[in-house]
Symmetry: C2
Amino acid sequence: MTYESEYPPVYVTVDVVLLTVRDDALQVLLVERGAREQRGSLALPGGFVRQEEDLPDAARRELREETGVDVEPAHLEQVATFGAPYRDSRGRVVSVAYLAALPALPVPVAGTDAAAARWEPVSAALDEPLAFDHHAILEAGVDRARSKLEYTALATTFVGPTFTVAELRHVYEVVWGRSLDPGNFHRKVLGSEGFVRRTAEQRSSGRGRPAATYEHGGATLLHPPILRRAAP
Amino acid sequence: MTYESEYPPVYVTVDVVLLTVRDDALQVLLVERGAREQRGSLALPGGFVRQEEDLPDAARRELREETGVDVEPAHLEQVATFGAPYRDSRGRVVSVAYLAALPALPVPVAGTDAAAARWEPVSAALDEPLAFDHHAILEAGVDRARSKLEYTALATTFVGPTFTVAELRHVYEVVWGRSLDPGNFHRKVLGSEGFVRRTAEQRSSGRGRPAATYEHGGATLLHPPILRRAAP
DNA sequence: CTAATAGTGTCTGTCAGACAATATACC
DNA sequence: GGTATATTGTCTGACAGACACTATTAG
């Protein structure tokens, strides 16, 4: 069937910047577009919002359909909306961008809408052409992630359910692109109320003294925050 | 003419949270809806995005058409997008919310789309029913303004082209809802690089020593920021 | 003069960062 | 033991806030 409208139609899509930390790099999940428009080019996963579907639901569904990744229990937040008139050659398409973060565990599986899905370092993704204005969307998502590490517990969604302070520090170092003093970081994380909660186990990386493990302590906003300073 | 589409139509609107400081209160510009939908109820100014119009352009245009206020030289930033499926009874309407700030100078003039436009204290506006989900949009806009005072020069858009430190402090006090130490605030503002630039004039409020006047110093991000602390 | 506001100086507690010291594992 | 990492301790500089003090106007 077709629908009629007295105004020219405006389409609403969602695009997802799904980040993870793997191989000592901040990586983003990209899909090779299988749909007719810009077929073959790399793009962020995303697609059209359905008529009775909430925006974050659409983001989760498109991510699942296009990449096989289920972001259900993890972080998903709106970043910004991109709506320049000619950003999409199919017509007027306004896209709501979402940021998601996952541990490095899941391996993407190409779904129906996309010929392929794969992780790629953010630095590389920003150096190659992406479909539509996805370069700007990716930048906005990464910027948001970098600043949210400072004052929210976002970093815990980059690691598994339990983690060591060093693993958490590695997330900060990779996302911010600078090294941090292990001692000071340790004290700041444990001093930020509700950031992490101690678990019973220990964990050894094979070298050195084994570390205590922690789980997310329930706080979403950090007091005090883990501040980022200008690189030395 | 009518347009046909293979999908049910989704409408995109913009809504503007225009804030100002007047009568020692943070106030928001509201319109009494003249359009058929929710006629007579109070709402944020806003409306449908045109086919070839960028989103911030639509925000400025709707503000001008509905209230006679021209926000051209002032601050206008995107806040968030609201798209719950049944937030608007006319159908699927996704709204991109914008935040704007102006000095208390302009008096609103009702335009064609709205029966009336008026300033109202934010505290009062949040206590009465607003059309659609504009209560949540207003809250998001005010939250954004409060946090942006900390690390951007947003406060300068609430005052005239030249201002005293006390006028700037008044903006912070009203928007944050707490009093600030005049001496410490003075030192922090002048110590934040590029926040304000001294002008030649002085200004007297009638009582006490006349104050030096300043203009915006060009910086958008403040180093160091003007931090907000928990109320004493 | 007094009242009022503008602007400066000083002290103190907090905290980030540098870096040293200790703890505990593996080889 | 030696090495590597975890964790804790110590010092120092920067800075926010409290508050005292000086400066400059009106009346």
